[in-house]
Subunit: 337 residues, 2 copies
């Protein structure tokens, strides 16, 4: 079903400031405040969220996960062997607000990243003896995007779906999954950007052909032009962030610290379980090495710290990470739609 | 301590869209998505937040609440008689984004309101035999606003502080208080706008004169001009909101429903424990009466519903509430700085 007036909205002019639609998206989704980089595991209400449509009202007692001909209750799923994986998830659009020009969507600056302990059953336990090209995951959330009505859905190649650490999770940080995080059941794909971890998971489908759902075929692709197919978004790229030192100014967000020695801290991560090997901090353009903690968990961010003797005046602090595959966080983003 | 460059930031031009500083504030704070009006009690991660400064890192084991000469541990506070109050809290700035022009601050549209069950000790239990004009509450959060460094602090007249239902809370919805909601201890003042409910409560002070902290003397006052004293913000005013029917379009937020009969639902509330007596719904400007549930709890929002037969085409739905004191939610906001 196509609605031309929705397509119109999609083309709204966003020059000269952020559009009201962008503001609504920023209000609607939780961005992790950067001081929360202090937590190894992000508290539930501080963990970022991105919900394409409304949070569905699902009743765990009547909920059923459809897998082919089967309809599994939460009771049946909970009776299976359970696993816990600590994973850093980042939204693929994190940083979009700094793009010039920017595609009209959720205007993340930095906070679309968090870490949680996810508990559930390994997806592969439901896929024994399966033969397929891809496995698709369909959520219970539904709405329109660019005039196309659809339920949020994404797919994984079979080999990814069969990884030990891909979970169907019903618990986050040892608590029942919250509504906004996908209750009663969600997929968690460690190492991939967050769009792969389908929330409110209602149905698992096996496909012999590439899954052509809207969010797979049109959304989440690196594109330089609207009319190209682009490259699918998959694993998270190497990145680091600074936990802001000192105290803030309410409106500008500028930070104030006393002159003297202080420790600058932050987190760094990379996708696909690749370890971060190096973090550097630049103060006013001059790079120095940060001390980087070894990874405690394969898919979770690593802590780093760097001493700095603050002097009176204004300063600019910048961090960058390099992972074990030699990829370095770029100083300038690689623009895409 | 005054920092002129912070005052400059305060005056940033916000014409032609929302300023980057406003976007950061919208990202930083949690706005309740309107479908969460479905919950009597808002789940923790969906409850709105407004934190003037960074979320402090406090350790409940070493935390002490200072009250005059006393220093109370959480263990001592938890040993006192406990009470639970269900309260709807709304940010005093809720709706600011629709003001023309608007003061540069958090650009709320609708979501700065939520309801929670708060558990703790009655404040009055700590104030026996106290003589004072006002009681002031100082948080552990600290930073700058308009160039003035301060810890967030607010006061109450003694009579308000002595109300049975004003709590020092350590629990929200039966769970330990989350960091962003004021852990380990916060004030909760049912019926007042949220600024009165000081989070990360570190110190209680008795004053014979009006408390002159920044957030009391300069902030949170209804003003038409910068140079007037204005009227202090206190109780929440009567208001209602609609739980959006149908499904959304991702970018525009427009709603789509099938033609036919459907039930429009929402919530209504007023401050100071005043009951809402009437809610009306207008479809394309034509008002009809909604069915309003009686209040279950003195300080919590009331549910309302109204049947509507949707016809093909675009429609505008508007609700308004009237409280037991005869105050009616205005169609146009009463502009103030």
């Amino acid at each position: 079903m196509k609605h031309p007036f929705l397509e119109r909205g999609r083309r709204s002019n966003i020059e000269g400031g952020f559009a009201p639609e962008e503001l609504e998206l920023a209000l609607r989704h939780v961005s992790m405040p950067l001081e929360a980089l202090r937590y190894d595991v992000t508290p539930v209400g501080l963990h970022y969220t991105l919900c394409h449509f409304d949070i569905p009202a699902l009743d765990e007692r009547t909920f059923r996960l459809r897998v082919g001909d089967r309809a599994l209750s939460m009771k049946e799923l909970r009776a299976m062997p359970r696993h816990t994986v600590r994973a850093t998830l980042e939204c693929a659009g994190n940083g979009r607000a700094r793009f010039v020009p920017r595609y009209p969507s959720m205007p993340w600056t930095h906070g679309g990243v968090s870490t949680a302990d996810w508990t559930g059953v390994a997806l592969r336990a439901l896929l024994q003896d399966v033969r397929a090209h891809e496995v698709a995951f369909i959520g219970a959330d539904r709405g329109f995007d660019s005039g196309v009505e659809h339920a949020f859905g994404r797919s994984l190649p079979l080999a990814e779906a069969m990884r030990d650490d891909v979970l169907l999770a019903w618990s986050m940080n040892g608590q029942p999954l919250a509504p906004q995080h996908g209750a009663p059941l969600r997929l968690v794909v460690p190492g991939w950007y967050g769009m792969a971890s389908v929330k409110w998971l209602a149905r698992i489908e096996l496909h012999d052909q590439p899954f052509d759902g809207y969010q797979q075929a049109s959304g989440y692709r690196y594109k330089k032009r609207e009319d190209e197919d682009g490259v699918p978004v998959r694993h998270m790229k190497v990145k680091s962030l600074i936990s802001p030192p000192g105290v803030p100014d309410w409106y500008t967000g500028r930070r104030l610290v006393d002159a003297g020695p202080l420790t600058i801290e932050g987190r760094a991560w990379s996708g696909a379980g690749v370890t971060v090997k190096r973090v550097q901090l630049a103060v006013d353009g001059e790079w120095r090495e940060a001390e980087l903690e070894a990874p405690h968990e394969r898919f979770a961010w690593q802590r780093w710290r760097c001493e700095w003797h603050a002097t009176a005046g204004e300063h600019q602090l910048v961090c960058r990470a390099t992972d074990a595959q030699g990829a370095t966080q770029p100083a300038q983003s690689d623009w895409n739609i």
